[in-house]
Subunit: 220 residues, 2 copies
DNA sequence: CCTTTCTGTGTATAAATTACATAGAAAGAA
DNA sequence: TTCTTTCTATGTAATTTATACACAGAAAGG
């Protein structure tokens, strides 16, 4: 039988068990602005607070399956780009019971998905990053860590595809970058850089309703 | 009372609970080579396999407190640089019970710490990265993810301090970088770069026993 | 003291990043 | 329809950063 002593840190059959939750920062891009999906809780604790969508991991599912379930519920989103951010384990981060949370971020095209309040949620809304309310639990921290990770990833790879419609102008791409990274770029230099990544190709359509008649691009 | 329906993913009082474990990739630098601390299990499952040191999180402790306890046990290390890597939640990753693991990496000066097999461990050893055995559980994956994160961090910040003795030569720093990143650098360019980071300062001692009489540096 | 092996240093070249201004296309108003 | 406004599209020069490369001096070991 398994040896278990006071100093034994191995996982034994009778080890302590704990609720695990997933929380998700869902980023979307609307009206040339980066937004994040928040829900308003209608149950205690933190009733009437805005928080990140999340929920408990259930038996037999992985963490990312749990996140996908949460998002499917709220937005009908099914195929989604998910990235793990970090784990949070302060003993008192949930005021009633011990909960360890693993956070994720997701990138979605808001145009495609209606968001519907359900279950323990009285409201759901896309918030601009600079107009955020104070969030419940430690979700301010989770959001700030997720945003940092998103920015790091953006600076390295090219990850905007999930946030833009199928056809888009280079100026829209630039606005996306600017709102995620919160800095301005010179248009010519930005276009040079993004084009030499060789991930976009021009179509021969132009976007209507915009002066200058910008050409529409798509992902390669 | 808390509403709970079939679609409710909120954390309710009766949610599923699960064992949480921490696993740690402990990196050290010995004989100008990057090494990693592995332990040999003497209990099932994976008895006689080499694995990363780890163990269950206990009631009332955070994940990083758990890791610190594990390492204190094995190495006597107390003040340590820890970094969270990721969470692992496949349903069958532990063959006997459901366990979600959070992995960390740690950087230590091996010179300072004797490593002692204890409890469920029959052996403990510093392994070179290119002489690794096949690890138990999914620890090959954990190790490879931790190494990737270490490399990413190294390329951005300067994180070697925890791996080197108090006084060191620039050549030793270069060997450290080369063995972590697994690439070679030109000596002059490397020194230029590392010195202009302005984190090191020369002492007026020289290292004995080495031809050329290299000067010893310390962290600023 | 001679040989070996390591340290320590500078410059020229290439590559990447930054700064910057004007002409043309479409929209909207008169 | 024309005129004005506002947006798009584009190239080059200057700066900064990264890369390539060779030889003289210090200590060790025989």
């Amino acid at each position: 039988m398994t040896k278990v002593g006071p100093l034994d840190t191995a996982v034994s059959l009778e080890s302590y068990e704990c609720t695990i939750a997933v929380e998700c920062c869902v980023f979307g891009f609307q009206e040339n602005t980066l937004k994040i999906l928040l829900v308003k809780r209608s149950i205690e604790p933190f009733s009437d607070y805005w928080v990140l969508p999340g929920g408990a991991m259930n038996e037999g599912e992985t963490l990312s399956e749990s996140v996908q379930k949460v998002l499917l519920n709220l937005t009908g989103i099914s195929k989604i780009s998910l990235e793990q951010v970090a784990s949070y384990s302060s003993v008192k981060r949930h005021p009633i019971k011990r909960v360890v949370s693993v956070s994720f971020y997701a990138l979605v095209k808001p145009e495609n998905y209606p968001v519907i309040p359900k279950n323990y949620i009285s409201d759901i809304k896309w918030y601009e990053l600079n107009k955020l309310p104070k969030l419940g639990f430690d979700h301010d921290q989770l959001l700030s860590d997720a945003l940092k990770k998103l920015r790091d990833n953006l600076r390295q790879n090219l990850v905007f595809g999930e946030l833009l419609p199928d056809l888009f102008t280079l100026t829209e791409v630039q606005h996306l970058y600017e709102s995620i990274l919160d800095e301005k770029f010179d248009r010519r230099n930005f276009r040079k850089k993004i084009l030499q990544m060789d991930l976009l190709e021009p179509t021969n359509e132009k976007k209507a309703g915009v002066k200058g008649g910008p050409v529409l691009f798509k992902r390669k």
